[in-house]
């Protein structure tokens, strides 16, 4: 920090209490890299020590005071000058004076409200950081430390399934069903597609998870769509009466909780896009919004021995419910709709069918909505050129 090569300079180190044992979370930086940050939750106290070490021991450091701030802010990439701080807390560590030796100042922001989750998107970034400033006449000495914040939700009270009959008249009629409308980040989407009418030659069907990031307001609204995942759920052409299972594990994808109107600055929303492609590469699709939320972690019950052997897989594997892992989603498997006239007679004796009689909460008169058929032959569709 000494631009002119003379005068005293100091190094600031922020030590957070219990940082050796605290959980970390991976957070994307602006340039797309990922770093691991200490993880805090809403209302948690952030405390620690600020260690200041002088570079030239023996000579004193003159300062106008030392402070530490806890800042939560939203940065718009297209408006770099303006940071919207939704939290800004300051603690004074030292009054103006001279510092002669290494000094350590404890600090504590008790029960800090952290209403939002950290987020780095295409156009917006939400971050929390601690900032220590040694105020000097010429150039302040500053040290920042980012922390990660996750917002936790409890299990949503209302969590209806998504069930809908969609189609293109005399061409394609399907009924699809996702078991929930709200999924936590390590959840599994379970569902099925039931084909009521098929007059097109379908080549395959996939489910895409699309993230929509909306920033700004009014005329300055920017929307960025990103396909997080593409997941083929059917190969080949089904016939009327076929029912295709859906099972998508969310844990493997980079997802955040759904964020609605964060501080009136931005939103991040997720959609499931069901896409059917015919042999002439025309695409038929239907988007449904789902809400993602972060679930409170349960204590990890898994024995460390098994964990040790699977370290490389940890990143993609969900952390909770490990005791049930080996039979994923079995119990959540979807049932055929009561009104479906399956010609699949073998299933008639399926014990599952009894459970159908208790229909899901969705309204029985599921409205028929139009699917979207894309114009053109799909040849130039960038998604097809993969």
């Amino acid at each position: 920090m000494s631009f002119f090569g003379f005068g005293q300079s100091a190094e600031i180190e922020i030590y957070l209490d219990g940082q050796e044992s605290r959980k970390t979370a991976e957070v994307k930086t602006e340039d797309g890299k990922k770093e691991r940050l200490l993880l805090y939750y809403d209302g948690e106290t952030v405390s620690g020590k600020v260690n200041i070490s002088l570079k030239k021991p023996g000579s004193k450091l003159e300062h106008q005071g030392i402070k530490i701030e806890f800042i939560g802010q939203i940065e718009m990439f297209y408006d770099r000058g303006n940071h919207h701080e939704f939290i800004s807390l300051v603690k004074e560590l030292a009054r103006p004076g001279d510092m002669i030796a290494h000094t350590s100042y404890p600090f504590e922001f008790s029960c800090v409200e952290k209403p939002f989750e950290v987020y780095t998107g295409a156009n917006v970034r939400l971050r929390y950081y601690l900032k220590v400033t040694i105020i000097r006449r010429l150039a302040d000495i500053v040290k920042e430390l980012d922390i990660a914040v996750h917002t936790l939700s409890s299990y949503p009270e209302m969590n209806n399934s998504i069930k809908m009959e969609v189609g293109i008249e005399d061409c394609l009629h399907i009924e699809f069903e996702y078991n929930k409308s709200k999924y936590h980040l390590k959840d599994v989407i379970v569902g099925k597609i039931y084909f009521l009418l098929v007059r097109i030659k379908i080549k395959h069907m996939e489910i895409a998870i699309i993230k929509k990031e909306t920033t700004g307001t009014g005329p300055n609204t920017f929307t960025e769509n990103e396909t997080i995942a593409k997941y083929e759920i059917m190969d080949g052409a089904p016939v009327r009466g076929e029912s295709i299972p859906i099972r998508v594990f969310l844990a493997g994808y980079e997802l955040t909780p759904t964020m609605r109107d964060i501080n009136k600055k931005f939103s991040v929303r997720y959609f499931l896009n069901l896409v059917l492609m015919d042999t002439e590469d025309r695409r038929y699709f239907k988007q449904q919004e789902i809400t993602l939320w972060r679930k409170v972690r349960k204590p990890n019950l898994q024995s460390p021995a098994i964990l040790a052997g699977t370290q490389t897989l940890e990143n993609t594997a969900p952390q909770e419910d490990d005791q049930e892992k080996t039979e994923p989603a079995q119990k959540e498997d979807f049932l055929r709709a009561p009104n479906s006239q399956s010609n699949d007679k073998l299933n008639a004796s399926d014990p599952f069918d009894q459970r159908i009689s208790s229909p899901t909460e969705s309204p029985p008169e599921s409205q028929i909505q139009n699917m979207t058929r894309e114009a053109g032959d799909g040849q130039n569709d960038p998604e097809n050129t993969e």
Partner: protein, 801 residues
């Protein structure tokens, strides 16, 4: 995702595509194995996924795809073994089952899922039931027929050794029971079958043949499901009845695809044990009735019948459980009922198939219940009903249905080799009526040959009537008989068979035999002259034989009975006469007369006389050809010579008549020979007057011979004259040796001299040589007699040789 052309590429490109794909597989498999060696599972999975991605191709024909599939699944084994090894060492990879589901493409994902699922099952049976359920359900995601079939085949292959095979319990077991296995395989089967059937409806209609060939190549994949079901040991009969078979049949019937139905029904028959089939005949056969129009139900049913028939035969020889089952199940009744219902419900079934089913039924009945003729009769009745319902008459003999019917009718015959049993079948004849004339005739000949080959004796009147009615195409003229020239040679051949058969109409009881003969006569009499010529003579000989038999028996009324028999014979022969035949009835009369003479019943003389006189009148009225006349007269003379029953009153006119007739022959040589023959009547002929001894009327003998000499001298042709002389000389010698005192050495010398005188004048020819030889032989005989005279014989003294 790559865009794939919808069409499968031409043959020449197949090899290239396949080689490309195999190249990728090889490379990825290599990397996968290297990663496994280094314990880098994630990398290995990525390689495996890349390798499996080759199976997403649409470019390959089923054959090439199979090759690729084999190569890839082979490599997958390495992954499986590695994981198994790790798991068993306790290094369990958590969430692997979930992990592999992140694969973006469904085909590689599901192959990996199956591979991993298998490892989970093998290392922890508690997961088995749920995993199996999950795997078979998730595979629904592949709806492309070819890829789906192979994927599910992989599932089936992988799980073949881990399917739960424990009997059901009330306790909920996560390991699963056999019921779970059945559900699993049935579900897989249903899905595979649907995919397989779907192939038929994809692509252009002009490629139908090509598609069907491809389907043919793939059928084994579907069938393997059934094999797997049959390998489950805990599938008991009860489970098969309640769970397995209904499940299969439902799928088979509902898929409405002829190729699939035919193949799968056949599969069921082949893979499951006979004991099961026997107990589930009804549902199985009911389903047969519900199959598509194009399905060859006949073959299916027949194949089942054949299987069960041979099972029944095995069970009979081995006894034991099989035999017990057979006793419980009325195999024939069940089949019979079900075949009937198949025939009624499947209107479009060609008639030949209907009959083919009956053929199979008969075979079944014969194999399983050889002593139940009523079963066969029932089939015959059903067949008659089928024809009546279809309104089919006079089936053209070259048509398929006619051929089947002939087959049906021949089977009991071939099996029993006994016409009598056929006659017991009430509906056999009725069924035969549905053949056209040619067909019936051919069958009749077949029946006849069978009866002849097996020497089947028909012992009652009733059966005789039945048999002859059955053979009526040979016995009578038919209205529907083709017009035009009758092939006489063919007719002769047929009638000879019939004639041979008549000899087999015989009863050990004489009275019955009589009834048989009269019945046969009545029927055969309607056959017209062409047939009677062949069929009546054997009947007559049978009648004569019967008369002899009565003579032996000598029961109370035997004489009356004999008289009746001969009356019967008389009228029968008369029928032949009326048919404008002459020589044949003549001979038959003579034969009759001989029989009458020998049997000697009351009043036989009159009857014999009547027979003789009939013969004479035939000779006089009907025989005009001189050669035939000579032959006839010779016969008459021969017969008369044998008969001894005539009183002088009857025998004299007959003898005289013979001599007279002989002398009235047209040609001199004939006269000469006739008269010479007649001479014997007066020597060895017998009558009541001579007490049934030889008459030995030497004078009249010599008169005859002299007349013969006289006639011979009138012959213009010297060689004929000499020939006659030689013959007469022989007659003379005969009588001389017999001791006729009217014949002297002098007369012999005269004749010999005469011959010697004329002989050298003959021209050299074959005839002359023959005559000379005859003469020399005669002289030789005389010389030998001269040299070594018999002790009690006549003396040849003074003979000039």
């Amino acid at each position: 995702m790559p865009t794939t052309p919808p069409q499968i590429s031409p043959v020449e490109d197949q090899e290239k595509y396949l080689q490309d794909a195999l190249g990728v597989v090889k490379a990825q498999a290599f990397h996968m194995k290297r990663a496994l060696d280094k314990n880098k599972l994630m990398d290995a999975l990525k390689n495996a996924s890349a390798m499996l991605a080759e199976l997403r191709t649409s470019l390959l024909s089923p054959k090439s795809y199979y090759e690729l599939y084999m190569a890839i699944t082979d490599e997958l084994r390495h992954l499986e073994l590695y994981l198994l090894d790790e798991f068993q060492k306790g290094r369990k990879v958590t969430d692997l089952y979930e992990l592999v589901q992140y694969a973006g493409n469904i085909v590689p994902r599901l192959y990996l899922l199956i591979t991993v699922g298998l490892v989970y099952i093998k290392t922890n049976y508690a997961l088995r039931r749920d995993l199996l359920k999950d795997l078979v359900e998730m595979c629904r995601g592949v709806q492309h027929p070819l890829r789906g079939l192979f994927l599910r085949n992989y599932l089936l292959q992988c799980t073949r050794n881990v399917l739960p095979d424990a009997a059901d319990t009330d306790v909920d077991t996560p390991e699963g029971t056999v019921k779970d296995s059945v559900d699993f395989v049935l579900m897989n089967f249903a899905e595979m079958n649907k995919l397989w059937v779907r192939m038929q409806h994809q692509g252009h209609s002009r490629e139908r043949q090509h598609r069907e060939r491809e389907r043919e190549e793939l059928k084994i994949l579907v069938g393997t499901n059934l094999v797997r079901l049959s390998q489950l040991e805990s599938v008991t009969l009860e489970k098969y009845q309640k769970l397995v078979l209904p499940g299969i049949l439902e799928q088979v019937v509902s898929c409405r695809d002829a190729i699939a139905q035919e193949y799968l029904m056949e599969c069921i028959i082949q893979v499951f044990p006979d004991e099961f089939h026997i107990k589930t005949l009804n549902p199985f056969l009911k389903s047969c009735a519900e199959l598509e129009a194009g399905v060859n139900v006949k073959n299916i049913v027949i194949s089942l019948m054949e299987r069960l028939a041979s099972f029944s035969q095995r069970a009979d020889t081995q006894g034991g459980e099989g035999a017990t089952i057979l006793q419980q199940v009325q195999l024939f009744e069940v089949f019979s009922d079900q075949v009937a219902s198949i025939i009624t419900t499947r209107q479009y079934l060609p008639p030949e198939d209907m009959i083919a089913l009956q053929v199979a039924l008969v075979n079944l009945a014969l194999k399983c219940y050889p002593d139940r003729i009523d079963y066969i009769d029932k089939v015959m009745l059903t067949s008659v009903e089928v024809f009546q319902r279809l309104g089919l008459e006079h089936l053209e003999s070259s048509s398929l249905v006619s051929k089947e019917l002939q087959k049906l009718l021949k089977i009991p015959l071939d099996n029993y080799n006994n016409l009598l049993i056929i006659l017991k079948l009430k509906h056999y004849a009725g069924l035969m009526q549905h053949l056209d004339y040619t067909g019936r005739k051919l069958l009749s000949i077949y029946i006849l040959n069978n009866a002849l080959d097996n020497e089947t004796v028909i012992p009652t009147q009733e059966e005789t009537e039945q048999a002859l009615n059955l053979l009526s195409p040979l016995v009578n003229d038919k209205e529907e008989q083709p017009l035009g020239e009758v092939d006489l040679e063919e007719l002769a051949e047929e009638q000879c068979l019939l004639a041979r058969f008549i000899h087999q109409l015989r009863s050990n009881v004489a009275d019955d035999q009589y009834l048989i003969l009269t019945a046969a006569r009545k029927i055969l009499g309607g056959g017209g002259p062409q047939r009677m010529k062949y069929t009546l003579p054997p009947l007559l000989f049978q009648a004569y034989l019967l008369a002899y038999k009565y003579k032996e028996l000598k029961d109370e009324k035997w004489e009356k009975k004999c008289q009746k028999i001969f009356q019967f014979c008389h009228s029968t022969i008369t029928a032949l006469v009326k048919a404008e035949l002459a020589e044949l009835p003549l001979r038959l009369f003579l034969q009759g007369a001989l029989a009458i003479d020998q049997i000697g019943f009351e009043n036989h003389e009159t009857v014999a006389y009547e027979f003789m006189s009939q013969a004479f009148s035939l000779y006089e009225d009907e025989i005009s050809d001189s050669k035939a006349q000579l032959a006839a007269i010779t016969l008459i003379v021969g017969t008369l010579e044998q008969i001894s029953c005539f009183s002088e009153e009857n025998s004299d006119p007959l003898r005289t008549q013979c001599a007279l007739a002989a002398s009235k022959l047209l040609k001199k040589p004939d006269q000469c020979r006739g008269v010479a023959t007649c001479s014997h009547l007066f020597w060895s002929g017998k009558s009541l007057a001579s007490n049934r001894e030889e008459t030995h009327d030497g004078k009249r003998v010599v008169e005859c011979l002299k007349k013969g000499l006289r006639i011979a001298k009138q012959c213009m042709d010297v060689s004929v004259q000499v020939q006659l002389f030689v013959e007469l000389l022989n007659h003379y010698i005969y009588f001389f040796e017999k001791g006729n005192d009217q014949v002297s050495v002098q007369i012999l010398n005269q004749v010999i001299g005469k011959i010697k005188e004329e002989l050298p004048n003959l021209e050299n020819s074959d005839e002359t040589e023959q005559i000379t030889k005859h003469f020399n032989n005669t002289l030789e005989h005389l010389r030998s007699r001269l040299e070594t005279p018999d002790a009690d014989g006549v003396s040849y003294e003074g003979l000039e040789v």
